[in-house]
Homo-oligomer: 340 residues x 2
């Protein structure tokens, strides 16, 4: 049975060579005679050797530092959740010699640039980034590449960049899910609004993806439903909504600002609302019945996986996938508790 755990010592004994030789064969470094190499390889093959990662990582204290570039999170529930995931992972890996250095940016383009730059100049061993501003990011990523620093992206995917892994949702699919749900909720001739609330909408490809997915679904299913897309730069602009609410059956909000819509809908209107993220205001409105469905974007997992997949690469040098897609969790008032 291949059930036992063999050590390098065992292998050395079986192949009649020294521990050093086995080590050299495994890591193919140094010089080994053909004869010895063959014997060792045969044994390795036979017993299906798997190194003891515990012993290995006990030795391998390289003390790496990971820079974390995310939005300022003290005032923001969503990013605070994400930071919580990051910190959980930090705790777990501290004993592996991993430490984190946070670079939080306030939500302006300049500050994003500044903090990201600082992170690069800090010369970390790896970087975790929540990239919000597409254009600015490209140049910054390029600097990381030149320095040969591996980096992971969370929340917002950016194509054509040599990141290690993107952790987040398939936004196209996310939009499709929203559309299917909306279709079960709404069955009349009034129209459906797709609303974006984002200052830098042009840079936010993921919002555009959600919209596209939403439309794709309706088209695929031959559902002829009136759709109107609205893009607001600022929360205040939502007052414009009032006029069209009477002829609206449902609203799909592409961001976590879903609660804004709920606020603008009067108590008496029967408008179905689908949006994103379990931030307290959203959850509150959901429990009051003003938001029907929220799609959970798993900020905690994003943070946790973002770090741990970087560590997998730094310490264990494990292969990591290019994309780690998180589930598209559908949340209603009755199951919201188990995602909080």
């Amino acid at each position: 049975m291949g059930k036992e755990r063999y050590t390098i010592r065992d292998i050395a004994a079986m192949a009649n060579v020294s521990r050093g030789t086995v080590d050299r064969v495994i890591h193919n470094r140094g010089t080994v005679s053909e004869d010895a190499a063959k014997k060792v390889k045969e044994v390795l093959e036979k017993i299906n050797y798997e190194p003891n990662l515990i012993a290995r990582s006990l030795k391998a204290h390289k003390d790496s530092v990971i820079a974390v570039v995310i939005p300022e999170y003290s005032e923001d529930y969503y990013w605070r959740q994400c930071a919580y995931g990051i910190r959980t992972s930090e705790k777990e890996f501290r004993q592996f010699g991993i430490s984190l250095e946070y670079f939080q940016y306030s939500k302006t383009q300049e500050d994003y640039n500044k903090k990201f730059s600082e992170a690069i100049d800090f010369n970390p061993d790896a970087v975790l980034i929540a990239p919000v501003y597409y254009q600015d990011s490209l140049e910054l990523f390029h600097r990381l590449e030149k320095k040969n620093i591996p980096f992971n992206l969370i929340n917002t995917p950016i194509e054509d960049v040599s990141y290690r892994t993107f952790i987040g949702q398939d936004y196209r699919k996310s939009g499709r899910v929203a559309a299917q749900l909306m279709n079960t909720l709404v069955r009349n001739e009034k129209k459906i609004l797709v609303i974006h609330v984002e200052q830098y909408f042009e840079n936010s490809t993921h919002l555009q993806e959600k919209e596209q997915g939403f439309k794709d679904y309706l088209q695929d299913k031959n559902i002829s439903q009136d759709i109107e897309v609205l893009t607001f730069r600022d929360a205040k602009e939502l007052t414009d909504l009032k006029a069209i609410l009477p002829e609206t059956a449902g609203i799909f909000m592409t961001t976590s600002k879903t609660h804004l819509v709920a606020e603008h809908i009067g108590d008496n209107e029967d408008i179905k609302v689908i949006g994103y993220d379990l931030i307290p205001k959203n959850v509150q409105y959901m429990k009051e019945g003003k938001i029907n469905i929220l799609i959970h974007q798993n900020p905690i997992s994003q943070g946790y996986d973002g770090i741990s997949m970087l560590v997998e690469h730094l310490i264990y040098k494990r292969e990591v996938p290019k994309v780690k897609l998180l589930p598209l969790d559908i949340v209603i008032s009755e199951n919201v508790d188990c995602y909080l």
Copy 2:
């Protein structure tokens, strides 16, 4: 800052004692003078010492065996998924000296008894059980208790037994979720069927819980909907359904046998179906539109967590919660792929 990683050596130096004494204080074993104990404790307090688990587990090869008592899974997709989670976890912990011994039972009461007994006589260090038959289980659990063998339950909760941790869903809530979803799907005067398909229904408290949750929700929300509960011992009995389908608006299936219902519904009937588990047949019917919603019971996580929480206890002696509730994932055809 308490950011550094201190070793027992560091602590010994700081407290001006030997490494042995520090070790004795930490594990409070052996004899230590009050004076020395106080000094060491002060240092421990100050630096917030956390032992290096890697080094610890390198040494602590106790080679534990965990017995796994689950249904025969070669022919059963759900339990195969669960076994997959168990095996993933087995792989991960093999290097910690953990090995598993499987005791699969065919789905009869006698065989459950027999295999479970064998597992106990095997004298494992811990046991993971998917208990199906309530009555028989009590006696068997008692035998484990007497032998002082810790055990975890998955899938089916059994109260008043001193298991370590139950891993599974909150079935009451699960029923509530189904009810809320059904209520969005169905809005007419026809009735809703709650269907159980289970040979040993009396022993299956979790199915009864689902039913109760379903009813609770409707009552809480003052929804006056006709409900009829049907219990089938065998798949064949479902032919009886035919007669009542015309006056049925929706069906809530409490087991993974949801596909049976889909099979019995003709193509033309517009009956909404909510059921459990992403087994291939169910997924197939969902894609065809014959099943509307499936609630995912996370068999993989159940298996994985079931083992890993046992290991946490065996190796690290960490505190583990009495109940680990898995999320109540709502699955529709558009997001089914991300749960497979």
